[in-house]
Each structure stands twice: as structure tokens, then as C-alpha cells.
Amino acid sequence: MSFLAAIRVALDALAVNKGRSLLTSLGIVIGIMAVISMVAAGSGVRERLDERLESVGKNLILIRPGGGKALSGVPTQFAPLTSEDAQALRDDPQLRRWLVGVAESQYYPTIVSSHITSHRVNITGGQPIIFTIRNWKLAAGRFYNDADVQRAAPVCLIGQTVREKLFPHYPNPVGERIRAGPTYLQIIGVLQPKGHTPTGDDQDNQIFVPITTLQEKLAYEKRIALLVSAARDPSWIGRATERIRKILRERHRIQPGTDDDFEVTSVQELANLGDTMTRYLNILIVVIASISLLVGGIGIMNIMLVSVTERTREIGIRMAVGATARDIRNQFLIEAVALALSGGLVGVISGIVAAILLGYFLNWPILVSLFTIVVAFAVSAGVGIFFGYYPAVKAARLDPIEALRYE
């Protein structure tokens, strides 16, 4: 019998028991649905995390004062970071090779006004190199330079969010002035948008000024909040981090066995955490899928065994008119695979719907990959073949005489 004819015979048989066929494949439906929706939600979240890590800068290394965190999260050791610390890192020949640069940076949250309106914003003071380190791009104007830092020039660059708030109908406010407290700052540049950080902060809601300007004209405060750096290559992050710790421990005269009084973290660590979580999520998905596919497969085997018994007479008739054992085996195998595949199809569709609903209500991004769908169908077919084989062989081994006599 030709393969196409065999498929038709099998589908005819399934169509007779539509309700039963549907219930039988429910296990497969649920298994595939769980996999499709969870993978879609998981990879959507992963994609967004990656996007945000990318926008922050994957090679970023942050050095904060305070270290040796106790369980409460309060630092047990604390020493301020200074410009001299930053200079020491800049001067180290090895770090110079591994790092793009080191920039002191300081924050000052305040309310800033344009001639139109005012807006709450974070002012970041830094060295010119910070734009290279953080990979900021200009939309208009120029970055501030060393001369601006030298003379604590009242200049600033604004992020896209700030521009939208302060100058709603003003695509290029370069040259305009804004006021922070008593101080007027002239806008010399507008930055291209970067989006949100992994923790949800809007990176574009920032104003960048020379660090000296922040210290002398805005915050009246010289304590450095953060040293920002970036590795030239991701593979150097680990070594650079170790080197930074060594230099700072020496400078701060920390005894061996005592905790650091600062903290060196890299965005890569965050990315690694994402990787680990994705891995665990995938293992979880595989476990859930395996269990439900096992249950679904057993359901298919069960209904196929029932079907073989119910149709013993039919099998006898088919054998009497010339069906070979292979014809009979294929007929039931195709039926089992068709059952599993239709379950897989319903599972894929409902999985996508579930993922979209999940994404809609939890405000998660959703990513349905073709690969997952192909794998889902392949696995369904595999389940059909694996669990349909025994009933099919049982049917094929029937003795035609007894099968014909079966009531």
C-alpha cells in the first residue's frame, strides 16, 4: 500500500472518534503548550535583559566605596574613593592595556528648569572619558572636554528623556540654557537614546556635566560616588577586576584576611547571572515537558491498544484481503503519529496564545522562535512513534483467523 493511501486510511479512522482523539492527545497538547509558552516568555525576558545589558555596556566595571557586606547589606568596611585612587588605576600599565579608561563619577539628583518647564533629573559629573566608557553617542552638539573640566565650565549634555521633558517641541536645544538651583548650564550636546538599565532605570533621564562643575557649582561636595571603567574586551574583565582590587587594597593599606573597603562589580556578572537563570529555566521546562509528554505518550499508547482490540475484526478483514503485517503496523503507527502531531499542533497554537496573553498581562516581551516550533513537532512525532509502536506491532502480529473470528 502506498504511503499516501496509508495516511488516508489512518486519518479516516481518527475522524470516526474525534472526541476521543482530542482527549487522547490532551497530554501532548499541555506538554507542548507549556514548552512553547515558557520558552517564548523566557527568551523574551532574556532578550530584553540582553538588550539592556548591551545598552549599559557589557564590558562595564564599576568600583564603589564600601565593602565586606554583612548579611544586613550594610558595608562593614568603608573608605571613600578619591581622584588619587582613579589616577593610580589610570597609571597602571597593565590596566591601561585592558581598560578603555577610568572615570570618576558623581551624582546629584535635582530639579532642572528650562524656559518652558522643569523636570526632576539626575545630574552626572564625570571625566570626558566617561562618554567613551559608557559608549554614549551624540545626537547633536559636542562632548565636554578636558578644558571644560579644568575650568569647571557651566556646560552640560542632556539625554533624550530630558530633552523631551524640558524642550518638548525642540529637536535641537544646543545653545539653550537650563537652570539647576542658582546655576545656569549651557547645553552643548544632546545624546542619542540608550533605553533602560536591567534594573529599570531610564538612562536617558540624565544630564552630564564636567565633574568639577558638579563638585564646585552644583553639589558642593567632593566625595566620588563611583569609578566607572570598561574593559576593551570581555575576556579581560576578570583579570582587570583582580588587578583593580590588588591596587586599591595596597593604596588603602588593607591587611590580608580583611575585607575590601570597596566593591568592584562588572555588568558581565549580571549577564552571567542571567545565563544561569536561563539555564535553570530551560532545565525546568525540559522536565515539565518530559513529564507531560510521557503522560501524553502513555495516553496515546492506551487509546491505541483499545483501538487495536476494538478493531480486531477489521484487522482480520484487511489481512484476509491481502494486507501484510507491515501494512497493518504502518496503519496504526501513522494513526498514533497523527494523534500526537495533532496534539502538537493544538499545543503550539495554544502555547503561542498563552505566551501572548502572558506577555500582555505581565508586560513581558515574547519571543516565539521557529526552532522551538519545529522541535515541538519533531518531539510530538517522536512520541507518537515511540508510544504507538507497541500497539501497532501488536495489531500486526494478530493471527488473521482469530482476528476474523473476533466478536
Binding site: D12, V16, A320, V321, G322, T324, L404
Partner: protein, 280 residues
């Protein structure tokens, strides 16, 4: 009786010795069948020698338990003999594999059963197509041949009916059409009228006789003398052997179809005895 349909040439040597002899389409040589049911051995057939020639209409008769069903299963290639040889068209097939037997059932033997054995979900046409499906005949030709065959049994206007929409006699005609659609050498009918009323029985027997007159070899298994009367030769099975009361040759010329013989053989009279064979 023509042997034009008889095309096997595998046994050229024996044909050279007896060039004028028509060779049997079926030849059983000392066939036995022993069933092992647990500890008990049941000897269903104890050495059957039987030849059936092309164009014959043979009735195999016997009480239940006589071994006639076993014999029919072996002739029909549903089962294999324990010992002995079975030549079908000159080919020894007693040791064929299950798949080889399936192919013979498909192409060389057509079955008609007491309870019709049609597939309930399939229309008359689809039922008749079934053997062609398993011999890989393309769909269009399948349909055409099945329609033709249903026409021959007088069901051209019932082709798309399901079995339960047909009368018993009509169902049995569908079964006969299915049995013949692949041009088998032998039509094997097992109590074909057993589930039919007398009128339908008469029609079915008429149909079988017409087919035989057109050259179809028919082996009819029955326990009813009245039905067997239509056959031109009767083979009686008793305790796994062919009883001496059997007519060993095509008895048409030598023996008139005498009622007395049948009565003696079987001791059975049924109302169906009133059925007159179409020929007489």
C-alpha cells in the same frame, strides 16, 4: 473448460510428460494440521489429498468439528499446514512467510464470508477497492475496477451506500465483488448463505453459478446439502479426512444431482433444500 487463464509455467517438466493434462489450480498432498492448545494436541486434519482444477465448482462439506474450517483456512492461505504440501498454481506454498501468504490472499484468493465481513465505515465502493489498495493499484484505476465489479454483481446504484444501508443479500454481493475485484484464481466462499433469508440465498447461489459458468473456480464451504447441490463436486470431510462418499471428480457428467445421495451423506434436511439451483 478453458485453461487460458492458467499461466503458470514453473513446472515445465511435468507438462512435458503429460502435455494434454490440465493441471490443478490447487493440489493438497497429505496435508495435516495439528493444533497445540496447551497440553492437548488436536489433530484437525489427518492427511488430506485434494485437487481442484480450473473452472471447478467444489463444495466442501462436513459437520462442525470435522476439520472443514481448518481445511478452508489452509486453502485460503490464512494458515499453514503442519505437514504435507500445498501447491497453488504449481507453487509449493506450505512454507511461505506470512507476508508471502498475504500477497497470495491479495492476488490469488477471494474470500466470501458467512457474516459478509465488510468494513462498516466504508462505502460499498471503498470496500470493494480494499484488495486493490493493498496491491498498490493507483486510485483512479482502483475506483474504475471497483465500480465495474459492483456493476457485475448488480449494485451499480448502491455504490456509495454504507453496509448498514444495504440488505444482507446486497452486502454479500458487495463481499463477492470485493473477492473478485483483483481477479483471483479461486473464490473461496465460507457458508455464504448462512446469514441470509431463502430468497437472498437463492440469488447469491445464482450469482455464484453464473460466475462459475464464466470460468471462475469456486470452492464453497457449507454444511447444508441444499446449498452444496449447486456445486458440481462435493468433498465430504469427516474427522480430518476426506470421506469416501465424496465425489472425487467433477461429477457433472457421471452423477446427476441426486437428492438421495445428499441425504445419506449428511442426514440433514433444511428448508433451504427447496431452493432450486438455477441450472436445474
Amino acid at each position: 473448460m478453458s485453461d487460458s487463464s492458467y499461466t503458470d509455467v514453473s513446472n515445465a517438466a511435468s507438462r512435458a510428460v503429460q502435455p494434454q493434462t490440465v493441471r490443478p489450480v490447487i493440489q493438497l498432498v497429505q496435508v495435516t494440521k495439528i493444533y497445540n492448545s496447551g497440553t492437548v494436541q488436536v489433530q484437525a486434519l489427518r492427511g488430506i489429498d485434494l485437487e481442484v482444477f480450473p473452472g471447478e465448482f467444489v463444495a466442501i462439506m462436513g459437520a462442525s468439528g470435522s476439520g472443514k474450517s481448518t481445511l478452508m483456512n489452509i486453502i485460503g492461505c490464512l494458515d499453514r499446514p503442519t505437514t504435507g504440501q500445498y501447491f497453488l498454481q504449481g507453487k509449493e506454498i506450505s512454507q511461505f512467510t506470512r507476508d508471502e501468504l498475504a500477497s497470495i490472499r491479495n492476488k490469488s484468493i477471494g474470500f466470501v464470508f458467512q457474516n459478509f465481513n465488510l468494513l462498516k465505515r466504508y462505502t460499498a465502493l471503498e470496500n470493494v477497492e480494499l484488495p486493490l489498495l493493498y496491491s498498490g493499484v493507483p486510485k483512479r484505476e482502483r475506483r474504475q475496477r471497483a465500480e465495474e465489479m459492483l456493476g457485475k454483481v448488480g449494485l451499480q446504484d448502491r455504490m456509495h451506500h454504507l453496509p448498514n444501508q444495504l440488505s444482507g443479500g446486497q452486502q454479500q454481493r458487495v463481499a463477492i465483488a470485493r473477492a473478485l475485484v483483483n481477479n483471483p484464481k479461486i473464490l473461496l466462499a465460507d457458508e455464504p448463505t448462512g446469514n441470509l433469508d431463502s430468497k437472498s440465498s437463492e440469488q447469491i447461489m445464482e450469482l455464484l453459478e453464473q460466475l462459475n459458468e464464466r470460468g471462475q473456480t469456486i470452492i464453497l464451504v457449507t454444511h447444508e446439502a441444499s446449498v452444496a447441490r449447486c456445486a458440481r463436486r462435493k468433498v465430504h470431510i469427516k474427522d480430518g479426512r476426506i470421506a469416501p462418499t465424496s465425489s472425487y471428480l467433477d461429477a457433472d457428467a457421471e452423477y446427476p444431482h441426486g437428492e438421495a445421495e445428499s441425504k445419506e451423506d449428511n442426514g440433514i434436511y433444511t428448508p433451504l433444500d427447496v431452493i432450486a439451483c438455477a441450472r436445474h
